[in-house]
Amino acid sequence: MSGIQESIVIRTVVRIMVPFIQIFALYVIMHGASGPGGGFQGGVIFGAGIILYAMIYGHKEGKQRMSDKLNRILSSSGVAIFAVTGISCLVFGGMFLQYGVVPLLPDNPAVVSRLLIDVVEIGIGITVLAVMISLFFDVSPPETDEEELPASEEAGQ
């Protein structure tokens, strides 16, 4: 465990920060249809929140919050949400991703279109966050000796 990870200030700040980072990420995702932002950016921010947590609290803690299995399911299901939304437009006789044709609110296709863009953005966000996190866990070196290494150093002394 490195010095940064032990610092009580950093641990506390991170614990307070992470929920806000994630709420901001959700805001960016939901705001994607009508302003700057969107699924990709929001997903990156959400993933960054969890990566920050895992960096400070260690891989083990991080993996407890975001297990490999959950990660795999999220990364697949996000794209599935996107594709299912697109294909549902085909089912109702429109073109791929022509949201307006889905008869959720028959009088107001523009609103349906906006809602479904949000659904697509959420799908993209889920995949991006899962892939971000799995990239982080794959690239960072394994921390299996997190507890054992200091103990062996002490034994050496």
Binding site: K69, R72, I73, S75, S76, S77, G78, V79, A80, A83, G86, I87, L90, V91, G93, G94, M95, F96, L97, Q98, Y99, G100, V101, T127
Partner: protein, 503 residues
């Protein structure tokens, strides 16, 4: 309205969306049962093959298909266009993908036992990228799919030989990124001067500003970028390592498809984004391309002779074969163009078969050095026969596909008054004989004292079926080259060169 009618209108987009979705669902399928992955990939590839066949049939019978994503009409929205050129290339992608998919079950189980799920996931994403590059009618969308296909190819190559695979993949990544940057710059320049990203729209807008330096720079960037992507001779350095060190199934897929789709993209940009007059007469880019291609044909063959690793030899041979395709394109007459386009099909069939054979030999014996192939003719008779057929086709023996395309290329060169290219084709065929003969010699005429106590130990059936099918097609299209030429390539070449209009 039946269920099928509902789908038929949307086949262009489904050919891209279905492998994309299936690729991302593969981890879930593999999580249920790892063995299901292969069946899942087979199902997807078979569906894609049916859809691409149907697309090509529709194009041949009733003309170009236009599909507007999200109902937005071009030039604002993204448009998917299928004409004879990309309908034909898509069918090749789907077919080779299916063949390699069938083959991969045993070879991946042996070479990458822990990476079955990621392999198949990336496999389907690579098909998505190639399919999207081919089918799209929007050049920025093209760039996005180019990146998808490149990134997945890097990942597939990195899964190969321990250490070497990663280095090869990294080299390819650097070169591929440079190429993609060139292409993106070109797209940016064209967007800056025309304000459009739609290929058809752009072709209408560009002729009035052909004297603009920005357009010339864009053309130069595209040509350099795609030359790296297809591995044209002086820019080929990434290719041999990448093909050699990738897993067997990935080598066959990448060798069979990646460079061919790059060649497709080059043709598309030369003749559909720009116009034939600009490329042939105003900038003489086509002529430059023929000389580069002629150089690639000779140098690729010469370098192939120097190799002892069979996969590396085939990789160098690919460099020379890409030269044939681009030579035909650069000749810019109808016969030469037909030869070049036919060679896209032919080279996919032959090179995929040869890489599959190399993989099957490696699967059974663990040997890749062709000097240790003695007695393989007795040990693996079917596999080596497939090798014989594909290699003869590569040399250009009459009755195989290689002959037809070389014949057309030679006729095209004569029509263009460039006799030197006829000599280049002839010399390269002789060089092909030299490097393939070394393999034949070892396989069938190896030292008899080693051959006697060799038991027959053929590759598994799932490997034999795709190899034999490809070899049969090599002969079929050699004898009946009329079908692709008459229905697809002749009208297509006329249309590309601006002589006729696409149906």
């Amino acid at each position: 309205m039946t269920g099928f009618d509902l789908i038929t209108d949307h086949l262009p987009v489904l050919t891209v969306v279905i492998p994309l979705m299936a690729g991302f669902l593969t981890p879930i399928v593999g999580w249920i049962d790892r063995k299901l992955c292969w069946y899942w990939v087979m199902l997807t590839m078979f569906a894609v093959l049916l859809m691409t066949s149907s697309n090509l049939y529709t194009v041949i019978t009733s003309g170009t298909i236009h599909y507007h994503l999200g109902g937005w009409t071009p030039p604002i929205g993204i448009e998917y266009v299928i004409d004879l050129l990309n309908g034909f290339v898509c069918l090749i992608i789907a077919f080779i993908g299916l063949m390699v998919g069938i083959y991969s079950i045993e070879s991946i189980k042996k070479e990458l036992p822990n990476k079955i799920i990621p392999f198949y996931s990336i496999f389907l994403l690579l098909i998505t990228g190639l399919m999207g590059m081919t089918i799209t009618g929007d050049i920025f969308n093209f760039y996005v799919f180019l990146e998808i296909s490149s990134l997945t190819a890097y990942a597939l190559i990195a899964m190969g030989d321990r250490g070497d695979g990663v280095v090869a993949s990294f080299n390819y990544l650097i070169m591929g990124t440079v190429a993609a940057s060139f292409i993106l710059l070109g797209i940016g320049y064209l967007y800056a001067v025309t304000g459009s990203l739609n290929i058809a729209d752009m072709q209408g807008l560009l002729p009035s500003i052909y004297d603009n330096k920005v357009v010339l720079a864009a053309l130069a960037f595209f040509m350099v970028g795609f030359s790296i992507k297809v591995g044209l001779f002086p820019l080929h350095a990434w290719l041999p390592d990448a093909y050699t060190h990738a897993p067997s199934a990935a080598s066959a897929l990448i060798a069979g498809l990646m460079t061919k789709v790059g060649a497709y993209a080059m043709i598309r940009f030369m003749f559909s984004v720009f116009t034939p007059e600009f490329v042939i007469d105003m900038t003489r880019m086509a002529e430059i391309l023929t000389w580069a291609a002629a150089l690639a044909i000779v140098v690729g063959s010469v370098l192939a002779i120097a190799q002892s690793d069979i996969k590396r030899m085939l990789a160098y041979s690919s460099i020379s074969q890409i030269g044939y395709i681009l030579l035909g394109v650069g000749l810019a007459n109808v016969i030469g163009m037909q030869g070049g386009l036919l060679h896209i099909l032919n080279h996919s069939l032959m090179k995929c078969a040869l890489f599959l054979v190399a993989g099957a030999i490696f699967y059974r014996t663990g040997i890749r050095n062709l000097h240790q192939f003695q007695g393989l003719g007795k040990k693996m008779p079917v596999t080596t026969t497939v090798f014989l057929i594909a290699a003869l086709s590569m040399i250009g023996v009459p009755g195989t596909v290689g002959f037809t395309s070389k014949w057309y290329l030679a006729l095209g060169s004569i029509n263009a008054g460039q006799w030197i290219f006829v000599i280049v084709i002839l010399v390269s065929s002789l060089l092909n004989i030299v490097y393939f003969w070394r393999v034949f010699d070892n396989i069938w005429f190896g030292h008899p004292h080693e051959v006697e106590h060799i038991k027959r130990d053929e590759a598994p059936l799932s490997m034999l079926i795709p190899m034999v099918l490809l070899a049969v097609l090599c002969i079929f299209f050699g004898l009946f080259a009329y079908y692709p030429l008459h229905y697809v390539l002749e009208p297509l070449s006329n249309a590309l060169l601006g002589i006729g209009v696409l149906p």
